[in-house]
């Protein structure tokens, strides 16, 4: 199974999005609940949490966790 289709393109995209200062997964985890609540409250979350957004663009694991948290919160039970 060919898993490298577009690998170079993806690498280049990642390089394009790379910044000097980035948060690590722990730093993002620390504020993930705040970010999710800001989104759900309709606040300007992408501005406030620009570094979080940037990390989520580059870290699939954190993005999955964020989306999972949103699914939990959006279903009000």
């Amino acid at each position: 199974m060919d898993r490298s289709d577009g690998a170079m393109q993806k690498l280049m995209q990642m390089i394009a999005r790379t910044q000097q200062q980035e948060l690590d997964c722990g730093e993002v985890f620390a504020v993930l609940d705040l970010y999710a609540e800001a989104l759900l409250a309709g606040e300007n979350e992408k501005e406030q949490f620009a570094l979080v957004v940037q990390h989520l663009d580059l870290c699939r694991d954190c993005l999955e966790e964020y989306e999972a948290l949103l699914r939990v919160l959006e279903t009000k039970h």
Binding site: S4, A7, T18, V72
Partner: protein, 212 residues
């Protein structure tokens, strides 16, 4: 179930006793209600592993909540904070189970006939690779070899090509997720700097592969 404010949650959970017992029971129910939604991308409640995974996650979450209660700053709703912890525990465990039998070596060793970086640049272009593109491929391979350590190349291949989760790669490399992220960040920065020094933007590189 009583509705609690953040302060009430923290007060009730702070010390062993009846209030803590009741609060833990309530929290457990809250976590269990959320898990089907958290895990919906991978599992449904009718999957055989769902129930035992949920139990395990709920237990570990309650333990983690008690351990880290002092770190809760009240900047979000307490239950949001708890759901965050539960999601992290659930997905970590799910990933661990899914990747249990995969070794790092089998992902990062060379395919026959390829150098160590072949996997990164194989199949980028179609079967008729134009001379320019093969020059670009060779160049990129050289850049990657020169700029990155062996560990960085391994980590890149495992996470990016094979989609191995961060914690799974980190554990096999004897490190942790944050350190791995920093390792990859450093790798990306090195590649970015090197390409900039050569006057090549990532867009230039991508365009070279789209043409023809």
């Amino acid at each position: 179930m009583t509705e609690r404010s953040n302060e009430q949650w923290v007060d009730d959970l702070a010390a062993p006793g009846e209030a803590q017992e009741i609060a833990l029971g309530d929290l457990r129910a809250i976590v269990l209600r959320g898990l089907p939604y958290a895990l919906s991308k991978w599992l449904t409640p009718s999957d055989p592993e769902f129930e035992s995974l949920s139990e395990e996650v709920a237990q570990d979450t309650l333990l983690r909540v008690l351990e880290s209660l002092h770190t809760f700053e009240g900047r979000s709703k307490f239950t949001t904070w708890v759901h965050k912890i539960a999601v992290r525990i659930a997905l970590t465990e799910l990933r661990r189970k899914r990747w249990r039998d995969v070794s790092l070596d089998e992902l990062t060793e060379n395919a026959p006939g390829q150098g160590p970086l072949g996997v990164l640049t194989a199949h980028v272009a179609g079967p008729e690779v134009v001379a320019e593109q093969s020059d670009m491929i060779a160049h990129l391979q050289r850049v990657i070899t020169e700029e990155l350590t062996e560990k960085q190349r391994e980590a890149l291949i495992a996470t990016r090509i094979h989609g191995m989760p961060m914690e799974e790669v980190a554990r096999r490399m004897g490190t942790n997720r944050n350190a791995l992220y920093k390792l990859l960040h450093d790798a990306r920065l090195r590649l970015k700097t090197r390409l900039e020094e050569e006057g090549l933007s990532p867009e230039d590189v991508m365009a070279a592969f789209e043409a023809g």
